[in-house]
């Protein structure tokens, strides 16, 4: 084509073979962002969408107004959950690679989002997760073996064999059913929160989408309804810099942080260091308090990095530098909380390794246990006639008939 195109095409700062370059990230130093009262008018706190709320500094000390001043015990609990999340992901990844489950997705590098937020929310608050929130499921008491059984689509699978691995749910723990369709859960969270408000309850809802998913229509529906009805909801955008092969610039992240997406509707946004457990916890608590007291929705952008491949179907070396994560200026959330605890004298490398070992054993034991309920190749198997259940509350005649036909064939 001879004509000269003027179309702007976003370019990531580095492609395979290039030196990683995160200079595009606008970083504030730890402790720099002010912490407004929850009832300050939105206009006065817009700047929080452009700065970066950080608590942990480069020397692993906690500072500033956003320091939630958590007990060391609580921080240790948080670290442990993050470690479990990571160990679980590692094992499940291997298991997929061995062909024992069909698919898997890790949260590696993003564990603080689920764990710190989960700890800051109350048990009655309803979560509408994305597929990288397995930490939330763990934290809220979903058994390892139950998550594994879901991934195995076996006889103990909570989804009765109907969903791709990782598309969990946990009704008792107030975690919604994961969809394979991106961002659809966002308006659900807003609707749930509206219902909570209608009923005069003080439960709030929280939902998560990735940077790439913000381009979907449901993102717009959610923020619009949340703003109009001042729904008590926290709308999280986990900006891990990448969708699949496209970087966050292809979701409109080149000019403004995602945290700013709601300011045109009067929704405050907080841009937070997503790898800083303390900052994430603190921002969540602030937004939750605000929502609970009738202050309406908050958008939280978590600046983080997708440490692993998009999924087991993906090979990231095709589109980004192999070692990009190592250069990510906000580091690794597990490592940062560990160092903070060590610096404060509440943790040690030995303890850390011990916990990892303990979790490896625990996860392996769970895997052994899970397989008892069936694998892809070995029984017990789910009864295929269950395929016709739960399409409707009661089975209609045509599905009864189809079930009959299927069973006749199976014989």
């Amino acid at each position: 084509m001879t004509r000269k195109s003027r179309l702007h095409i976003p370019h990531p700062s580095a492609r395979p073979g290039d030196k990683p370059d995160f200079s595009y990230l606008n970083l504030s130093p730890a402790g720099a962002a002010d912490k407004p009262a929850i009832d300050v008018p939105t206009r006065e706190i817009e700047h929080l969408s452009l700065e970066l709320v950080r608590v942990l500094d480069d020397d692993h000390h906690a500072l500033g107004a956003w320091n939630p001043n958590l007990d060391p015990e609580k921080l240790q609990v948080g670290l442990r959950w993050m470690l479990l999340n990571r160990v679980f992901d590692e094992r499940m990844w291997q298991i997929q690679r061995q062909g024992k489950i069909t698919f898997y997705m890790q949260a590696t590098g993003e564990e603080a989002v689920s764990i710190a937020q989960g700890m800051a929310l109350r048990a009655g608050d309803m979560c509408f997760p994305s597929y990288r929130n397995q930490g939330l499921f763990l934290l809220r008491g979903t058994k390892l073996v139950d998550m594994m059984c879901q991934c195995l689509s076996n006889t103990r699978d909570m989804c009765k064999g109907r969903q791709l691995p990782v598309l969990y749910h946990n009704k008792d723990a107030n975690i919604f059913s994961l969809s394979g369709n991106l961002a659809t859960q966002y308006p659900h969270a807003v609707g749930w929160a509206m219902a909570s408000a209608i009923k005069g309850e003080d439960h709030i809802a929280a939902s998560w989408v990735g940077d790439g998913s913000t381009a979907e229509a449901d993102f717009h529906h959610a923020i619009t309804f949340a703003a109009i009805y001042q729904a008590p909801v926290i709308l999280n955008i986990v900006n891990n810099q990448w969708a699949i092969s496209t970087f966050q610039g292809f979701a409109g992240g080149e000019r403004r942080p995602f945290a700013a997406r709601g300011i045109g509707l009067g929704i405050p946004g907080i841009r937070v260091d997503g790898n800083d457990f303390l900052a994430v916890y603190s921002a969540t608590l602030w937004a939750a308090d605000r929502a609970r007291r009738g202050g309406g929705p908050t958008i939280i952008e978590h600046v983080t990095y997708r440490g692993g491949a998009h999924s087991t179907s993906d090979d990231p070396t095709k589109y980004r530098p192999k070692d990009e994560w190592k250069s990510f200026p906000l580091g690794d959330p597990v490592e940062r909380l560990k160092q903070h605890l060590i610096v404060e004298g509440h943790w040690s490398d030995e303890q850390h390794e011990e916990v990892i070992d303990e979790y490896r054993v625990k996860v392996l034991a769970a895997w052994k246990e899970a397989q008892k309920f069936g694998t892809m190749t070995e029984g017990p198997f789910l009864d295929p006639s269950e395929m016709f259940d739960d399409v409707y509350a009661d089975i209609p005649p045509h599905l009864e008939e189809q079930r009959r036909q299927m069973l006749a064939l199976e014989e």
Binding site: K171, S177, P187, W192, M194, T224, F225, I228, A393
Partner: protein, 338 residues
């Protein structure tokens, strides 16, 4: 017995459920203060408050998406989509979420949303205020699809739909909101007061989902249809002078197959009609089902009478609409066959 038109019957149905179940909420564009562009929710906000009859922004996807979330939190949302032609921006939420939630969560979650929406032509609304997209929804497992043809059924089916724990898409043929219609737009409008199905109890009653109704008994021909065309069928059968059994499908999915096939087995001839575009319309499924079940009883090919495979044109509304003439031609064709 009170006389109601279809709008009043729908409003009465909403009123009855809202009164019985304080978890029932209504949301949609202009449904609140104003009472809906077709007045179906008129007076309900004044009665139940603006936190239960909620004006919504113009975002059909958002209306359905948030309604699902409300349903998950224990409410029983009735969403109105102003015209069926405008349901498509919410289509993903219907297919991927509303229809799938119970299944994918192994029965743990569900959201009992009812979506009400006026459909069909005959009001000179042009191609964006006349569509009948019901066939599309019948292909989506996990949702139920309903279309009443008269005030009595409208109220009874609507109450059943709202009370159902399954999601329901409830199509309201707007041409017959105010009165039955025999297909002749030049005749003076007939009110529902003159029709037996315009008698509608004030209180609670239901018409069950999944059951068709034999509107007229006959033994020469079975006419299977629904919505506005039930009335055209009656007029056309009279015009041709055929003793037709006319069946109002009422619930398109799941289908009351037995009522349909028993009739066709009896009459040996079948005509299937709808206002929607013919190609891959719901008539195709009805035809396929009937021929599968009644093949050995059929004396003639099953005939389809439907809208043409074009958008609904403003100027040619009555050439597009499958009126008495086209209907009668279809009847003659089936009757004359072999």
């Amino acid at each position: 017995m009170p006389q109601m038109n279809m709008i009043e019957a729908i409003r009465s149905g909403l009123d009855v459920v809202m009164t019985r179940d304080s978890n029932t909420v209504i949301l949609g564009e202009d449904v609140g203060y104003f009472g809906g562009v077709f007045r179906c929710t008129d007076g309900l906000q004044r009665k139940f408050g603006e936190h239960r009859v909620i004006d919504a922004p113009i975002a059909e996807g958002g209306i359905i998406g948030t309604a699902i979330g409300m349903g998950v939190n224990g409410l029983r949302p009735v969403a109105e989509i102003q015209f069926a032609d405008y349901i498509y921006p919410g289509f993903d939420q219907v297919v991927s979420e509303l229809g799938r939630l119970r299944y994918r969560s192994g029965g743990d979650f569900f959201s009992p949303v009812t979506i009400r929406t006026p459909c069909g032509g005959g009001i000179r609304g042009g191609q964006t205020h006349s569509q009948s997209p019901e066939a599309i929804f019948t292909h989506i497992s996990g949702i139920k699809t309903v279309m009443p043809s008269n005030p009595y059924d409208a109220k009874g089916l609507l109450i059943s739909s709202i009370e159902s724990d399954d999601p329901v898409i409830f199509f309201e043929p707007k041409r017959i909101y105010n009165g039955p219609f025999d297909g002749d737009p030049d005749k003076p409008a007939v009110p529902w007061t003159s029709h037996p199905k315009g008698e509608v109890p004030n209180g609670y009653y239901t018409v069950p989902l999944g059951s068709a109704e034999i509107v007229e008994s006959g033994d020469e021909l079975t006419i299977i249809t629904y919505g506005t065309l039930v009335h055209i069928a009656q007029a056309a059968a009279a015009l041709v002078g055929v003793n037709a059994e006319i069946i109002d499908v009422r619930t398109l999915a799941p289908l009351d197959t037995r009522t349909l096939t028993e009739s066709v087995k009896k009459t040996g001839r079948c005509l299937i009609a709808h206002e929607a575009t013919r190609y891959s319309g719901f008539g195709a499924e009805l035809t396929a089902t009937v021929q599968e079940e009644c093949f050995y009883h059929l004396e003639a090919p099953i005939e389809r009478v439907a809208g043409w495979d074009t958008p609904y044109p403003h100027a040619f509304e009555w050439q597009y609409f499958p009126g008495q003439k086209r209907f009668a031609a279809g009847i003659r064709k089936v009757m004359e066959a072999k």
